[in-house]
């Protein structure tokens, strides 16, 4: 058996790592894989065209953009910020855990652009976490301040990544469906997205525990 078709995998890895345009990398890897597997040029273009065409449903998810855009026009982001701002008054631990849950649930319902670093973390979540930590522990050292802010950003990432896949009409779920369907295993989006729930619960428990221990660690540094 020839190992040459594996070059395609190497091309994907190298191309992404070197930051070439990902679409060029992917198509380059597909063409190289096809040619190295012994297909001629026309057959490779045909294989690529058929595969792209068969997977069009993955890009159907973008039809939701006018709904989200329209709601943003009337203040969806601002309203989300007001909800987050309403979590004020709690300790840093409680605040970030509440934000983690809020981010996971809204992402699971398809609103993954509520939150995010420029929109929510920098203007809102990080300063609020900092203020809450100072409220309970007094003035923070610079390293501690950076840790709290970094934890706020980390909380946004964890909440998004381990919430969004519960929403079935998202590219990652449909990509999984497409890859398995091409290999002869037809699945439905809901079949896949329910299996994101156990990991989402684990993510909440683990990250909530880590937020609490950061809060406690800062407190005990002063005791």
């Amino acid at each position: 058996m020839s190992y040459w078709p594996l070059m395609g995998i190497a091309l994907v890895v190298i191309g992404f790592a070197l930051r070439f345009n990902p679409l060029l990398v992917v198509v380059g890897a597909a063409v190289a894989t096809g040619l190295l597997a012994g297909l001629d040029g026309v057959a490779v273009v045909e294989a690529l065209g058929k595969a792209f065409n068969d997977n069009r449903y993955i890009s159907v998810t973008w039809i939701i953009l006018p709904v989200i855009g329209l709601l943003e026009r009337y203040g969806l982001q601002q309203r989300a910020r007001a909800v987050i701002a309403g979590m004020r008054g709690a300790t840093m631990g409680k605040l970030l855990i509440a934000y983690l849950g809020f981010r996971q649930i809204t992402a699971a319902l398809g609103m993954k652009d509520i939150g995010g670093h420029p929109q929510a973390v920098r203007p809102l979540v990080a300063p609020m976490a900092e203020a809450a930590a100072e409220q309970s522990h007094g003035e923070l050292a610079e390293a501690e301040r950076d840790q709290v802010k970094a934890m706020a950003a980390a909380t946004d990432n964890v909440g998004l990544f381990f919430g969004e896949d519960i929403f079935f009409a998202i590219a990652s779920i449909l990509l999984i469906q497409g890859v398995f369907e091409a290999a002869g295993y037809p699945l439905t989006p809901l079949q896949l997205s329910v299996w994101a729930i156990p990991s989402a619960i684990c993510a909440f428990v683990i990250h909530a525990w880590r937020i609490r221990s950061l809060d406690r660690r800062i407190g005990s540094a002063r005791a």
Binding site: V45, G49, L65, V67, D165, L175, V179, P186, I206
Partner: protein, 316 residues
């Protein structure tokens, strides 16, 4: 019978509209990109494979040349948004909820009542078709409620679409790559190699290698989407599903999430890990990753356990 073809015409209509609006906005690159994509949605089912392949090459050419750019359609100012957010309150979330509620409740209603016997929807396509219907209902409800200017829904959609740009078709392209890998027999080759490397019959060890590969490739490439077709073709499908008879839904869904743990650990995922460190003016550009390590590593282990239990112990 309603199936994907309905969705393709619907999405094709949206992309065509965005192409026209881009043209009106003097952005020929964007117009060409969304126009070709619209053609693929409208006519793809009737074109030859070769013609569809040419459409792919044109799309990639336009994107690779850097002709797809951000746009700035007219929208409301932050002040106007504050005012209407205060006026409308939490009701603003409701139209967005219509979409998942329609799709999930509709799917359950369809599958667990005699409705399924009507054969209204193509098998296994009902959720996505109902998602499309949910979007139309949510759009109609929002327009009736908010009474925006006539062009606003399309222009607001274009604002978001152009902020995503060519990356909007990356997942579809990666799925196509997965299909080409399958055709070229990549899975068979690696399955043979890995089968020789991993002790025969050790399901748990194979799950660990799969999840480690997802996280590792994601860290190198900065993108779990790109790692997925690679690891699915290499280990997920040939070994875990075919050789050991695991549940494909668990292996796919949780395998992707094992990759997301890798995203938490890599500076290559700059938007999530490096950009926020800059936005928050942190001294150490890896400060966010440092806070994520303690979550990502145990969470990765949880994902291994979930795959092992869900795909094998509960499945057989």
């Amino acid at each position: 019978m309603i199936g994907y073809e309905f969705l393709y015409l619907l999405a094709g209509g949206f992309f065509a509209l965005w192409a026209v609006l881009s043209l009106r906005d003097a952005r020929p690159g964007n117009a060409a990109f969304w126009g070709v994509l619209a053609a693929s949605f409208f006519f793809g089912s009737h074109l030859s494979d070769f013609a569809n392949g040419l459409l792919v090459l044109v799309l990639v050419g336009i994107a690779g040349a850097g002709w797809v750019k951000r746009s700035t359609p007219a929208t409301t100012t932050p002040q106007e948004r504050e005012i209407s957010a205060a006026r409308l309150g939490n009701r603003l979330f409701l139209p967005a909820l219509i979409v998942p509620v329609t799709a999930v409740a509709g799917t359950l209603l369809y599958n667990y009542t005699p409705l399924a016997e009507t054969g209204l929807f193509e098998a296994r396509r009902e959720t996505l078709v109902l998602f499309g219907i949910g979007v139309l209902v949510a759009l109609a409800a929002s327009i009736a409620w908010l009474r925006p200017p006539i062009a606003a829904p399309a222009e607001e959609g274009r604002r978001l679409l152009d902020s995503i740009g060519w990356a909007a078709i990356l997942p579809q392209m990666l799925a196509a790559l997965g299909a080409v890998f399958a055709l070229a027999g990549v899975g068979d080759i690696i399955g043979g190699l890995a089968g020789a490397a991993i002790p025969e019959g050790s399901v748990l060890l194979t799950v660990v290698v799969f999840a480690l590969g997802m996280a590792g490739f994601t860290m190198i490439m900065g993108n779990a989407f790109a790692a997925f077709p690679v690891m699915a073709a290499a280990i997920g499908i040939p070994l875990l599903v075919e050789q050991y008879g695991g549940n494909p839904a668990v292996i796919g869904a949780v395998g992707m999430l094992a990759g997301f743990c890798g995203t938490l650990l890599t500076p290559m995922a700059a938007n999530f890990n490096i950009v926020p460190a800059a936005l928050l003016e942190l001294k150490d550009q890896n400060a966010v990753i440092r806070q994520q390590v303690g979550t990502a590593v145990p969470l990765w282990a949880c994902n291994v356990v979930i795959i092992y239990v869900g795909a094998f112990l509960l499945w057989s």
